[in-house]
């Protein structure tokens, strides 16, 4: 059923009883062309583009819980392409371009809202870094503007620009950045993939990878063995655990990142704003809640929950940046576990094991990459060759000394 204002109207007249399931709940077939491990945003997008771009529809997405139960259902909904390095920037720009046409493409309103992102800068060093980044974006034709102090003040009058501790001297603004209704991304891709024949199999956990003669031939699951010509991992947060089933050790640590939502209020913050002196960022959802977060909790964790000291730090930075937040209340906190890679950039590549592919290491930036990740990963799986935009996102880049380190933080994941 195509979704439209008319379909909503006609179904409404009939008491909304005729809506169909958005995706089927099929039993697994014995054999697929491609099995994708992980029914999160990236896995579902990969399935969607395998079917749509490459005509590969004999595909199963295997999800241990419900679709979208990982980081696509647990993030702060920001999309942007304000990347510095030439190994990253064009990839994220592809992603942003895909976001821009996604809703009409998969016929689902994911509430993509290009409200802009403003990265505040507080000193000369940060200003210079913002200039370097913004100009790298402009070289690739990506929108970027520099706001001086007065422009920041005009843009967001609620900011304490002259604050006593770390005054704001300017900011890097990307107008086309914005926010998306995150859960709807998983649902839209799932519905689009399902309608093209992809089997989405929920509540089915992969427990092992079956190999024959060094090649992967399928996956062992809680619902039995399922054969596949190719197996593609898309289990960010748990990548190391899945890779271990194939005897692979990854350049990844799993960390928890907390995020928060406040009680709903009338429109207050129109864009995404980041505070560079204290790891704080904030936006406001269409429902009225302020959505905000800070840095990772700093220690390895698979716990999907955070600690109090980071909660406090985030509040301190928020109140410093926007004094009017003072009496606003945190409604809920949550934690997502993420693959923190050794250079802060992702990996989309073949593995040393034949027919096994990997997509991991998204750090805390995986959500915005969802469409491009699916697009490029599908390309890799279909062609056995990397998509040109991910040619620097290889697994062997560490051994070769070709790190993609946007921040220059080095091989210490909790510093990215």
């Amino acid at each position: 059923m195509k979704y439209s204002a008319l379909s909503v109207f006609l179904n409404g007249l009939r008491g909304n009883t005729a809506w169909q399931k958005m995706w089927r709940a099929p039993d697994p077939k014995p054999q697929y062309d491609v099995i994708i491990i992980g029914g999160g945003g990236h896995g579902l997008a990969t399935a969607y583009y395998l079917a749509k771009n490459h005509g590969i529809t004999n595909v199963a997405v295997i999800e241990k819980s419900y679709i979208g139960s990982g980081n696509v259902g647990r993030n702060t909904t920001i999309i942007r392409s304000n990347y510095l390095l030439e190994g990253n920037n064009p990839f994220y720009e592809l992603s942003l371009k895909l976001w821009e046409g996604l809703e009409q493409d998969f016929n689902y309103n994911a509430m993509i809202s290009q409200r802009g992102i403003l990265n505040l800068v507080h000193n000369d060093g940060q200003r210079d870094a913002a200039m370097r980044r913004g100009n790298a974006m402009r070289l690739h034709g990506v929108d970027a503007e520099y706001f001086d102090k007065e422009a920041v003040r005009r843009f967001a009058p609620y900011l304490d620009v002259d604050q006593s501790r770390f005054p704001i001297v300017g900011g890097l603004f990307q107008p086309r950045a914005g926010t998306v209704r995150h859960d709807a991304v998983a649902w839209g891709f799932a519905r689009g993939a399902d309608s093209r024949g992809v089997d989405i199999i929920q509540n089915c956990e992969v427990t092992g990878l079956r190999r024959e003669g060094g090649r992967v031939v399928g996956v062992e699951t809680t619902r039995g063995f399922i054969g596949a010509r190719k197996v593609a991992m898309a289990a960010a947060g748990n990548s190391s655990r899945v890779a271990e089933m194939a005897g692979l050790k990854l350049p990844i640590e799993t960390h928890v990142l907390q995020a928060f939502v406040s009680e709903g209020i009338k429109p207050f913050i129109d864009s995404v704003i980041t505070y560079s002196m204290g790891h704080f960022y904030i936006s406001q959802s269409d429902k009225g809640g302020l959505v905000f977060g800070g840095d990772i909790d700093m220690y390895n964790s698979y716990a999907q929950r955070g600690n109090l000291s980071m909660v406090e730090h985030v509040a301190e930075a928020g109140k410093t940046m926007i004094p009017r937040l003072s009496r606003m209340r945190y409604l809920r906190s949550w934690g997502g576990v993420m693959d923190m890679s050794m250079d802060g950039s992702p990996i989309i590549d073949k593995t040393p094991v034949e027919n096994l592919f990997i997509n991991c290491g998204w750090c805390y930036g995986g959500f915005k990459a969802t469409p491009a990740s699916g697009w490029c990963y599908a390309h890799l799986i279909a062609n056995d060759a990397p998509h040109p935009l991910t040619r620097q996102m290889r697994l062997d880049r560490f051994a070769r000394g070709n790190m993609l380190d946007e921040e220059g933080s080095g091989p210490t994941p909790n510093r990215h």
Binding site: P251, N300, S309
Partner: protein, 98 residues
């Protein structure tokens, strides 16, 4: 473990006093091959379960310690000084609060 850390020198102290460096991996010998060094610098076991990590009591005794903890439950498994000069504190040795 994530609110309080049992420092082998200072006892239970708030987590805010510490920083962490991740997996307690041992530096290879200078003569090790490049694969061993790549492994050391970049690859991690990253288990969901017990894990030994380097922590630094930065706002305390300034010692680096090895903390064993469960990365899923955050259960405490013991600490020792990174140089091995303080005895291991294991959770079973913890005495009553009184």
């Amino acid at each position: 473990m994530a609110s309080l850390i049992d420092c082998p020198h200072c006892g239970k102290r708030p987590r805010e006093e510490f920083t962490t460096l991740g997996s307690a991996v041992t530096r290879p010998s200078p003569s090790a091959d490049s694969e061993t060094w790549t492994d050391y610098v970049y690859l991690r076991d990253n288990p969901r379960g017990m894990h030994d990590e380097f922590w630094h009591h930065a706002d305390g005794c300034r010692r680096w310690i090895v903390v064993s903890r469960n990365t899923f439950t955050h259960e405490f498994g013991g600490t020792r000084d990174a140089a091995g000069i303080a005895p291991m504190i294991s959770p079973t040795e913890k005495t009553s609060q009184k």
